[in-house]
Structure formats: C-alpha cells, structure tokens
C-alpha cells in the first residue's frame, strides 16, 4: 500500500470529468423542480440523449452537432412527460418512471446499428501557457469544452434563479402555483419550458457519457447516473452551487475509492464500492440543519379551474 501513488492533481482533474454528466442532468432537474415539477424520467432522457448525440456525431462527424442533437433528443422525450403531466394532468411520479422505461427501450431500438462504432473525438481545449501551469493547469485548463459548458450552465442557472425576473416567476410557480396563476403568470407554459430545459440538460449529460467519458454506444450505458442526479438535486437543497459541490463530491468519492483500491489500501472492496452512497447519506444528515426545503408545489398537479 502506498498512498503516495495517488496524485491529488490528477485526482481532482478526473473527478471533474466523472462528475460532469451528473452535474448537467442535476442542473436541468433542479430547474424543473424549482418550477414545482418532479420528473423522475432523468435516466430515460439521459440515455435518449446519449444515443441521439452518438448517432448524429457519427453520421456528421461533428461532436458539436452531436451534443446539439442530444439536447434536442432529451427535450423531445421530455415532451412526452409534458403531454402526460401538463396536458393530461397525470401523476408525475408514475409518468417519470414510465418515461425512464420508455426511454431505455427506445434508445436501444435507435442504437441497434451503432454498437461497436467509435465516435469522432472532441479534443481538449489546450491554451498555451495557462494549461501548462503546474497544478492549476491540469485541474482548470485541460478539459473538453462540455465540462466548461456544465460549469457555465450552473452559473447561468444560479444567476437566473437569483437575480432575474424569469427566475422569480419560475420560483413563484414552484412555490405556489395558485397564487402565481392569480397574479397572471402562465403556470403551465412556464412549467413546460422548465421541463424541456431539464430534458435538454439530461440529454447533454447522457451524450457526455457516450461521446466523451466512455466513448461508445451500448444499451443501458448510463447505468443509473440519472437516479444519482435526481438524488443530487435533493442533496443540493435546490441550490445550483450545491449541486456542483454534490456532483464533485460524489464523483470524487467514486474516483477516490478506485484510487485507494489501486494503491492497495486494505479496506474490503465492497465497502469502498458502497462508500459514495453512504457518504452522500451522511452529508445529507449533516446538512439537515439547513431547513431550506423543497419548492412547496413540488410534484403537485396544477389545474386552472376558473
């Protein structure tokens, strides 16, 4: 056993990569939940985004087009959720689960001819001088562009929710849809926009796995990331920066446990493997002193009766 073999700089750099799909999906879901909608279909939207992005970038040779397609794919699938929950006023928990089931199957059908294909490479942003600074360079300036998109998105969502009128309306809708409706806001329309945004973000997260982190297409390749993303939103108490922190924490523990194994630390592997989940629970308990709670209308159906 030799802990000296673990390079903290590289560890931080790779945990950022591991955390990015989680972060993208969680930020999207955070906006959805802020608007008072609980969409449990994140996993389904991610996997559809993963195959949409993969297929388009293989066909066109452009990863950028792939990511755009992934966002569109995720959003289109979330449109089904819109139809169910906002038009047909169906139960959101069940609709989200149905969306995941459908998305997993649908992506597998779409992806049948893409097994064993290698997608085009996106490359990393490498800025001379800055990227070569020791420690800071590898951590901050040697990543693929989408990782920065994830961080930018977090900033944008945070600023929008906190300072803009749109953010205010969104929160009002999530806190009390009847009052928001009485004030003349179009509750359903705002929620639809939020859901589509969430779908697009989940799609991006999925494509990050299929195009950058793995990169390949196999059925069911998101392997539960969508569920972790859902958990992260709760963990973050619906705050964008805490979602970022949570994603890095979760990604960090995942990468760290593999590092500890490789360094030969004598902790049974199964305990290491379950550590990310247990530590998430523990952190949640510690954070429970913070009483900021869920959007009050979360998961409730809105119907303008007059």
């Amino acid at each position: 056993m030799d802990l000296g073999e673990i390079n903290p700089v590289l560890l931080v750099a790779s945990l950022m990569v591991a955390a990015t799909p989680l972060l993208l999906a969680a930020i999207g879901e955070l906006v959805v939940e802020k608007a008072g909608v609980l969409n449990l279909g994140v996993e389904g939207m991610m996997i559809v985004g993963a195959i949409s992005g993969f297929a388009i970038s293989v066909e066109t040779g452009s990863p950028w087009l792939g990511f755009i397609a992934a966002a569109v794919g995720g959003a289109v699938l979330s449109l089904l959720f819109v139809l169910l929950t906002q038009v047909a006023l169906a139960n959101q928990v069940a609709s989200g689960l149905a969306l995941t089931l459908f998305g997993l199957g649908f992506s597998a059908l779409m992806g049948q001819s893409y097994v064993g294909v290698k997608p085009p490479d996106m490359g990393e942003i490498h800025i001379p001088v800055i990227s070569d600074i020791p420690v800071i360079g590898p951590i901050l300036f040697q990543h693929d562009p989408i990782l920065y998109v994830g961080i930018a998105l977090t900033t944008a969502v945070w600023a929008t929710l906190k300072y803009s009128r749109v953010g205010l309306i969104l929160r009002a809708v999530g806190e009390n849809h009847d009052a928001a409706h009485a004030l003349g806001y179009k509750v359903i329309k705002i929620r639809i926009m939020a859901i589509l945004f969430g779908g697009a973000c989940a799609g991006l997260g999925g494509a990050y796995i299929s195009l950058i982190r793995v990169p390949q297409w196999t059925e069911g390749m998101t392997a539960g990331v969508g569920w972790i993303a859902l958990a992260l939103v709760v963990f973050a108490s619906w705050k964008p920066w805490r979602a970022l922190l949570g994603a890095y924490l979760f990604g960090g523990i995942t990468v760290l446990q593999l590092n500890l194994q490789a360094a030969g630390v004598a902790i049974p592997v199964e305990y290491l493997a379950m550590s990310p989940y247990i530590i998430t629970i523990l952190v949640l308990v510690i954070l429970s002193a913070d009483k900021s709670s869920a959007p009050a209308s979360l998961g409730r159906t809105f119907h303008a009766s007059h």
């Binding site: 990569v17 294909v117 796995i209 990169p215 196999t218 593999l258 590092n259």
Partner: protein, 357 residues
C-alpha cells in the same frame, strides 16, 4: 357456430402446418443474459447463433430471448422454448445453472447446453472457454511492453474465471519481466462503462502503462488512447477500432465452431452430455491480430506461445509455481488440473493484495 368452427379448423390447419415444419427443422434456442447490443459477452454469443443459421441455412430455426434475468425468469424462458419444440437450448450465463437443471428434468428429450457452469445431467452439457490461455499471450506482450513495470488490471467480480485470468497474465508477464507489478481494481459490476473509464484512468494516473481488462466495454481503450502512451487489449470482442494503438491485441470469444458442432450432433442424433472446456486449440478462444505497435521479436514470441498452446505442448500453469502465501502449488513440470483451475480462488506468488471475499 359456423364462425367458430371455421376458426377451429383454421387453427388445426395452422397447427398441422407448423407441426410439419418443425419436423424438418432443428430448432435451437438461445437464452441471453444481456442485450445482443452489449458489444461484449452476449454480442459474441449472438454471433455464434448467426453462424449456426448461416451454416445450416434452412435446416435450422434459431430463436433467442435477450436480457433474461437469472432465476425464475430464465426458467420460464427455457420452459417456453422447450414447449415450443426447441431441440437444443444454449443458456449463456453462469446464473442460469440451476434453472437449466430444473427445466432439463422436465424435458428429457430436449438437449441443454449451459455456459460456464459445473452441473451436468443426461441432457445437460456444460461448456466454457479457456480464456486464461489468451491471458498468457496478453501477459507475455504486456510484460515486454511495459516501461513503468506497472500493469493495471480491471476486474469485474472476484470469481474464479477472473482470478484465473489475473494469475495467468501475471505468471507470463513476470517470466519476461521480473520487475513487473500488477495493480488490480475491482469494479464490482458486470456492466458500467463509465465506471470502467474511471478505473482505467485511475490505473493510468498511478503509473500503469499497460491496462488489461476483464470487463466488456471499450471505455478503458478510450482512456488509454487519451493518455497517449498506454497499451490495451481487446476483451470479448476484437475492439479493432482502437487498433493498432492503444489496442495491440485481443482475446475473442468465438462460440461459432462449438455451436455448429453441437447443433450438428443433435441433427445426427449423436449428441451426448459432456463437459467441454475448449481453448485456443479448438478455436473457442481466438487471439486478435497483434498490431505493429508490438516489436517484431515480441510478436514472434507471442505467436510461438500461442502455437505451443494450440499444439497442446504448453500449459499456461506449469510448475514450479507457488501460491501467494508462499506455499507450494505446482512442482517443476507439473501442470494444473482442471478442477483446481475451475474453482481457483487464490493468487499466485508475487501478486499483491487480497482477493475480496
């Protein structure tokens, strides 16, 4: 009345028709644990099925059900295939062992073939591949190629199959490079490409410049490519999209010859229960093309090693070998017996760390 009797006679006609077809054709069923699009384990078995169809043409009919969970679901799928007239059923996951035995008892006339298990019956044969022979070739190349003398190994779960592979690779890497060290990471999952990517990255960061994997996704290949100077090997399928570098060679499961031979045996009426454990010699384990990134002399030695195993002249576990704790395992020139290999749950001397229990 008329309408229903019409239906009935139509049904009888249909039944007769299908009955007639069934007599001509040999019906072969396949039960898969993953989707045929997994690009690994199930993908290769399905290639074997397609080979059977191609080989026999109109004489066979194959059916398959994919993503069948182990346990009662598997039992139901097998029963269903047997009820619908399958003559031969391949069940392609270790966890199908007890269900296969249960169903086989109910259908004594149907032949069953269970992959990677150990329970046989009059109408149940088992088959498996000696992947560890391929691991010997990999170990040989890996030991020669490493400059840091650290070889990373990604395992799924600590089961005999995987442990055998680690031992075989280690023994042969050590032979050509006494300073070599193995770093082993257990992913504790059969399938999670993202986790495999993380595991590969971690191993590379800790100095490994050769990665061996016992998981099926190409994620480690991509991680190695990104790192630039890391060697990998294809697993389960050829993964030639990453050749010639980082993927310098591969172990391929080739089930086609076995599936064709066993189907033929059922057609001829010569099928018998057996315990088949085939390797390079029989073609069940194939070594993917060794790319030019490997120095010519190393490639030559590797091919010679492969040829020696194919000819039956060399066994990857030939003494003297000791267990990890220093106790004797095989004496000079002694060859490991299949029983020990099948249930292998110890490391050979020199490997570090403990097998998770």
């Amino acid at each position: 009345m008329k309408f229903t009797s019409l239906l009935a006679s139509a049904a009888i006609a249909l039944g007769l028709a299908t009955g007639a077809v069934a007599q001509d054709k040999t019906k072969v069923g396949f039960v898969y644990v993953g989707p045929v699009g997994d690009g690994g384990w199930t993908y290769e078995h399905n290639k074997g099925r397609l080979a059977v169809e191609e080989h026999f043409g109109d004489k066979v009919e194959t059916v398959f059900v994919e993503s069948v969970p182990e346990g009662p679901d598997a039992e139901r799928v097998m029963t269903q295939m047997a009820l619908e007239g399958a003559d031969l059923i391949f069940t392609t996951s270790f966890g199908y062992m007890d269900p296969t035995i249960n169903v086989a008892q109910k259908f004594p006339d149907v032949k069953f073939e269970h992959a990677t298990g150990y329970k046989t019956a009059d109408n149940v044969a088992v088959y498996s591949a000696r992947f560890y022979e391929g691991r010997a070739v990999q170990g040989h190349i890996a030991g020669n190629m490493t400059k840091s003398n650290i070889i990373g190994y990604i395992g799924s779960y600590p089961i005999p199959e995987v442990i055998r592979g680690i031992n075989s690779a280690y023994v042969h890497a050590k032979k050509v490079n006494p300073d070599v060290e193995f770093k082993i990471v257990w992913a504790y999952t059969w399938f999670d490409p993202a986790k495999e990517a993380d595991a590969a990255t971690v191993l590379i960061e800790q100095g490994a410049d050769v990665i061996l994997q016992h998981t099926d996704s190409t994620a480690p290949q991509a991680a190695a490519q990104e790192a630039g100077n890391v060697v990998t090997f294809g697993q389960a399928s050829d993964m030639s999209e990453y050749a010639p570098f980082p993927r310098v060679s591969s172990i391929i499961d080739d089930w086609a010859p076995y599936y064709i031979a066993r189907t033929q045996a059922v057609m001829d009426g010569s099928w018998e229960s057996a315990n088949t454990w085939d390797g390079i010699r029989e073609g069940m384990v194939a070594i993917g093309e060794i790319s030019d990134a490997v120095p010519a002399d190393v490639k030559e030695e590797a091919l010679a090693l492969k040829a020696a195993m194919a000819a039956g002249e060399y066994h990857p576990f030939t003494g003297p070998l000791k267990k990890q704790d220093g106790s004797d395992w095989l004496a000079e020139g002694e060859v490991a017996d299949d029983g020990t290999l099948a249930g292998m749950n110890f490391y050979v001397e020199g490997l570090e760390g403990e097998i998770p229990q």
